[in-house]
């Protein structure tokens, strides 16, 4: 016979030692120093790997974490203040004050060499390996900052992408009709965990495994 599971309802809670007060502090909770170090190291390593023959990109100097922080800040700013072309942001009008922090050429240079993943991936490489160290680090900081409430939901998120890839999903008659599919577990707007989806994964032999044989996700250390 059927009996329902007993539920004790409780609200979501923060696991942070202290609440951040400014937006940049909130951003640093999730985008922590380790992520900045990975970005900085891998970008410089990628530049070196592209110039093993002794050629040089004029004006290149190794990026620092400070420069990358400015660069990410400008990318976010460009997403909020809309202009038809990237060059227009450096056209010299007064409301483009943030652009004084970095020249246009340097911005394009970093955009050319920005890299998240190391060059020698662990074998066998997952198809999303180019995002990998950072995706896991971000997911870990999501989990370590927040205790979800009792009622969560799992659904798919679409990342719009119109290029060619076998991992892309096409679903006509949906708001985002093609792109990458990400499964996410969310608590009323807070993304707690996510996992990339590809139809290739089902073909790799993991389909139809008994439920007891599945991989265990990494343990999370909770404060007592």
């Amino acid at each position: 016979m059927y009996t329902p599971l007993e539920r004790l309802e409780y609200d979501a809670d923060s696991l942070l030692p202290q609440q951040p007060t400014s937006p940049i502090e909130w951003f640093s909770v999730f985008f922590n120093l380790d992520i900045w170090k990975v970005l900085c190291d891998d970008t410089n390593a990628y530049y070196i790997s592209k110039h093993t023959d002794g050629s040089k990109d004029p004006g290149w100097r190794p990026v620092t974490i400070g420069e990358l922080r400015i660069w990410i800040g400008l990318v976010i700013y460009i997403g909020i203040v809309k202009c038809p072309s990237v060059r227009d942001y450096w056209a010299g009008t007064t409301w483009q004050i943030p652009m004084d922090l970095m020249g246009f050429n340097r911005f394009l240079q970093i955009q050319k060499y920005i890299h998240i993943s190391l060059l020698s991936p662990a074998s066998p490489p997952a198809w999303y390996m180019k995002l990998e160290p950072m995706a896991t680090m971000l997911a870990n900081s999501f989990r370590s900052a927040y205790l979800p409430s009792t009622n969560c939901s799992i659904d798919e998120m679409m990342v719009q992408f119109a290029g060619c890839s076998i991992h892309k999903v096409k679903m006509p008659r949906k708001p985002i009709d093609e792109g990458y599919k990400i499964f996410a577990i969310c608590d009323h707007g807070y993304t707690y965990g996510f996992e990339f989806y590809s139809r290739e994964d089902g073909a790799s032999g993991t389909i139809g495994l008994p439920a007891s044989m599945l991989l265990q996700p990494p343990m999370l250390a909770l404060p007592a």
Binding site: L5, D155, M157, F183, L214, P217
Partner: protein, 226 residues
Amino acid sequence: MLPPPVLLPPMGTRSPPMLPLPMLPPPMLPPPILLPPVLLLPILPSMSQPMSLPISRYLTATSQTCLWLAKLLPYEKYQFSIYFDSFFSNTAFFATLRELGIGACGTARRLQVPVELQEYDDANGKAAECGDLALVPRDNVLCACWQDNAGVFMLTTIHDLNDGTVKNRKRPKKGNHAVSQVFGSSRRKLLTIPQMIDDFNSHIGGVDIADQLRSNYYTQLPTRRS
């Protein structure tokens, strides 16, 4: 002595006579209607084995991914229930989650509910009254078919058979005959609906809210296509 003259306002600006406001009856909830009697269909003998036997369930690739996500939660320390839409729900997956102590609730597609419920929906689909509820437990998962404007299949492990709640429901835009019988001519009506439907409606949108919040920060650089 003449009575003091009554000053009348000039014609055209006179306000219409004030009528006493009609006494509105105080708002009242109708007494909660008990849900229609639970239709408990016989369980197949092969499925009525005691739960102690090792049951090997086979999960699809999508269910495996969702199980991995669900295990991210600190479910050994706290209680969670997860809501799914019909893309993810199946009984094997929900039963696996239940053994971990994670509750699950979600709409289901037709092929994921027991065949008795499908037959019930086929036989009763047109003639069913709005609000009819048929239930079949299977593998410790409660499978339900609830008649809204059309049949809705639900799977749940956290709701009891007779849980109900009163909600102010909107009349469906394209209602069938059964709908007009319930709603009459009114646009909204207080109706008793199963608790699982109400919980599902309130909690399913978590990922969509995250999508909306994410869409405020667009990080693609402007490019021009040639």
